[in-house]
């Protein structure tokens, strides 16, 4: 869109901010056991208050309640509206149609904040009062560029009493052309998503031999052939005597924790959780970074004695891991 088109578009969508979705609307179905059971089945929720009448009757609730997380579900419009099979178009649909007409075809629920003021029981009516509360400035997101639409819904019951409130944020975005092309290209096959592995070290002249030994289950330490100085990480020349000649020794894998950290954020796919990284002082005198495993994070401390084991950690990776000795 040109800047002029963008501002015309923004004027159109902003006119919806503050508007009510329509008159208060009673859900298509009142709270009922069938929908409760369908929801509990699919979410794997075995809470007996939702499905076990006998248990529920004997509990403090004195009867079945609906899972609170269903609050917004009672108000969902259902199939005809989502498919555009109905003549009627509510204010929210109207707004979404404007986004779609301007190329913002992607839609994604991104946030909800739900407050439960009273538990619902079979037979209760749920009446929703929804306002389009906010439309964000244009945002660049991982999915593409777009706008966040925030609605606020107040829910009441057949007595006009308040039962809860939900803020619902939806991203309307223009799918990025590259990701669409990439995914459509592979759509022929249904290849299973591969579980990610650790990020690998590239291997070059100075380090491939060290990683190859790891693959074989050995932790090696580079040694200067002339002066015997040990060095890690490997490098081509001895910093002490400048010799280019070197060999290696195999580590005993005995050592202690010289320093450590627990990496909490961000989390990276393919790495364990919790993720403990130690700087390990080996008995031979060199240090290396490796994971500490086999204990809870709180147990790790500077000076902790550890013993290493070179082992496979995923389909692509063998690494030294250090366990409490």
């Amino acid at each position: 869109m040109t800047p002029a088109e963008t501002s015309a578009f923004e004027a159109k969508i902003r006119a919806y901010v503050g508007r009510e979705m329509g008159p208060p609307k009673r859900g298509n179905d009142d709270v009922n056991l069938a929908m409760i059971r369908h929801w509990a089945e699919v979410t794997g929720d075995e809470n007996p208050l939702y499905t076990d009448a006998e248990f529920a009757a004997a509990s403090s609730r004195k009867g079945i309640i609906a899972p609170p997380t269903m609050l917004g579900i009672w108000a969902m419009e259902g199939y005809p509206m989502a498919q555009g099979h109905t003549g009627k178009v509510d204010v929210q649909r109207e707004l979404h149609n404007i986004f779609e007409a301007h190329g913002f075809t992607g839609v994604l629920g991104t946030n909800t904040i739900t407050e439960f003021h009273r538990e619902l029981r079979p037979g209760d009516q749920v009446i929703s009062h929804t306002v389009i509360d906010n439309i964000s400035a244009p945002k660049k997101t991982a999915r593409g560029h777009g706008y966040f639409i925030e609605t606020v819904t107040r829910f009441t019951d057949q007595h006009g009493q308040d039962v809860g409130r939900q803020v619902f944020r939806t991203l309307r975005f223009m799918p990025s052309a590259e990701s669409v092309a990439a995914n459509q290209a592979q759509s022929g096959g249904d290849a299973k998503l591969k579980a990610p592995t650790r990020i690998q070290s590239p291997r070059g002249h100075d380090n491939a031999w060290w990683w190859e030994a790891i693959d074989q289950g050995k932790l090696l330490i580079q040694r200067c052939k002339r002066c015997g100085t040990l060095r890690h990480p490997p490098r081509p020349m001895c910093g002490e005597c400048q010799s280019l000649e070197w060999d290696s020794i195999e580590s005993s894998l005995e050592g202690e924790v010289y320093s450590y950290t627990e990496v909490s954020y961000p989390k990276f796919p393919g790495y364990p959780d919790p993720l403990l990284c130690g700087l390990i002082q080996l008995k031979e005198g060199t240090r290396l970074v490796a994971n500490i495993v086999g204990c809870v994070p709180e147990a790790v401390h500077v000076g902790m004695k550890v013993r290493g084991k070179v082992e496979r950690v995923d389909d692509a990776t063998v690494l030294p891991n250090f366990y409490p000795a």
Binding site: T43, D45, I73, A82, G109, I113, V180, Q184, A195, K267
Partner: protein, 142 residues
């Protein structure tokens, strides 16, 4: 789930909930969308999902919200009462992934008898799918 309920006094700040692994299947995604009456095509139609740049159909936020609520009440037991849930979605859950849900008690309100559990659901391919806070009231005594 455990049918006995934790009491407010028995819960400690910083306490970690046992992790829960969820296999993200097409069945769960479509089943969750239908049970939440969400017929948006991206949650049941692979071609529609791909047109928005994702490899496959993906879980709707109401299902994520439901799983988060279930995760916490599985741990508290049935006599607890959910007071609020805040969910923020990150990377989508698509079929073939495994989501691990973890949680930690991050606040306790003595006056209200409520605790806040901070919950994270991380899938094994793209990382954090959902993060949020669940506020739940616990009985004073069992």
């Amino acid at each position: 789930m455990n049918r006995t309920t934790r009491t407010f006094g028995s819960v400690t700040l910083g306490e970690k909930l046992p992790p829960l692994k969820i296999d993200v299947t097409a069945g769960l995604i479509v089943g969750g969308a239908l049970a939440s009456r969400d017929f948006t095509p991206v949650h049941h139609d692979k071609a529609a999902a791909q047109a928005t740049g994702l490899p496959d159909i993906f879980m709707n936020i109401l299902t994520s919200n439901g799983l988060m609520g279930r995760y916490v009440t599985d741990w508290t037991g049935p006599e607890a009462a959910l007071k609020s849930i805040e969910v923020k979605l990150g990377a989508p859950n698509v079929p073939g992934m495994v989501m691990t849900i973890t949680g930690e008690v991050t606040a306790k309100d003595d006056a209200a008898g409520t605790v806040i559990v901070s919950v994270s659901g991380d899938n094994n391919v793209w990382g954090t799918h959902m993060a949020g806070k669940v506020c739940v009231a616990l009985p004073k005594e069992s």
